[in-house]
């Protein structure tokens, strides 16, 4: 049992992180906290991806033997590069999303002078909008 848990510990960690993030996104009243939750959520996924790429006993996928192209390249010596590539893209996407979300938070703050969801709802109800 313990073996099982340890052999997949990367998954447990990312699952916990993701649940924290998801909870914050849905359950928190403060909009910034929601945004932070979103970031945690995305980071958890990124960690998950990166952990897929790991191979026991392998190193970063930068070929040291470059220039002496004669030696055969041993696949097992280098970790899987694809998840890293995907995550470079995903990181950028997550930053961009955060940026847009922050911009919309600025708009909200300008209008309501608060970032608490319930207060905003109250203001909107009062103004009838």
């Amino acid at each position: 049992m313990l073996d099982y848990v340890i052999s997949k510990y990367n998954f447990w960690i990312y699952i916990i992180l993701m649940m924290i993030g998801l909870y914050a996104m849905i359950g928190k009243k403060n909009l910034v906290k929601k945004l932070i939750g979103m970031n945690i959520f995305q980071s958890a996924i990124i960690l998950f991806y990166v952990s897929i790429g790991v191979k026991a006993g392998a190193t970063v996928p930068i070929l040291s033997g470059h220039g002496h192209g004669h030696e055969a390249i041993e696949v097992a010596n280098y970790i899987n590069p694809l998840p890293h590539v995907l995550m470079l893209t995903a990181i950028v996407v997550s930053i961009a999303t955060t940026g847009i979300a922050l911009a919309s938070l600025i708009l909200i703050y300008r209008k309501y002078n608060t970032l608490e969801e319930d207060e905003i709802l109250k203001i909107r109800k009062e103004t009838g909008a």
Binding site: M19, K55, L88
Partner: protein, 94 residues
């Protein structure tokens, strides 16, 4: 809201944990992820793209279209922020 959030989170977590059971062990070199597409990257990338860093080779060559999309995402976000935040220089504390 908190209750809904909790239910959603627990359901998601349960689903994820359920899936873990059939996952390959961590850092298993023979997992499908490491044995289907990626070996060929490692073997061929340097030769075909003349780049020792395989991540760079995949990023900028094999999957360069993704990377283009990535830059477009940044561009989109930038223009989006401009669109949202410009205007109202006068008044309203902006």
């Amino acid at each position: 809201m908190k209750v809904i959030a909790l239910i959603a989170v627990i359901m998601t977590g349960a689903l994820l944990i359920y899936g873990v059971e059939d996952m390959p062990k961590w850092s298993d070199p023979n997992s499908p992820a490491s044995s289907h597409v990626s070996p060929q990257y490692i073997q061929e990338a340097t030769e075909k793209t003349a780049t020792p860093n395989i991540v760079t080779a995949v990023l900028a060559d094999y999957r360069s279209y993704d990377t283009m999309g990535e830059t477009v995402v940044v561009f989109t976000a930038a223009i989006g922020c401009i669109l949202m935040l410009r205007k109202k220089r006068n008044g309203e504390g902006g």
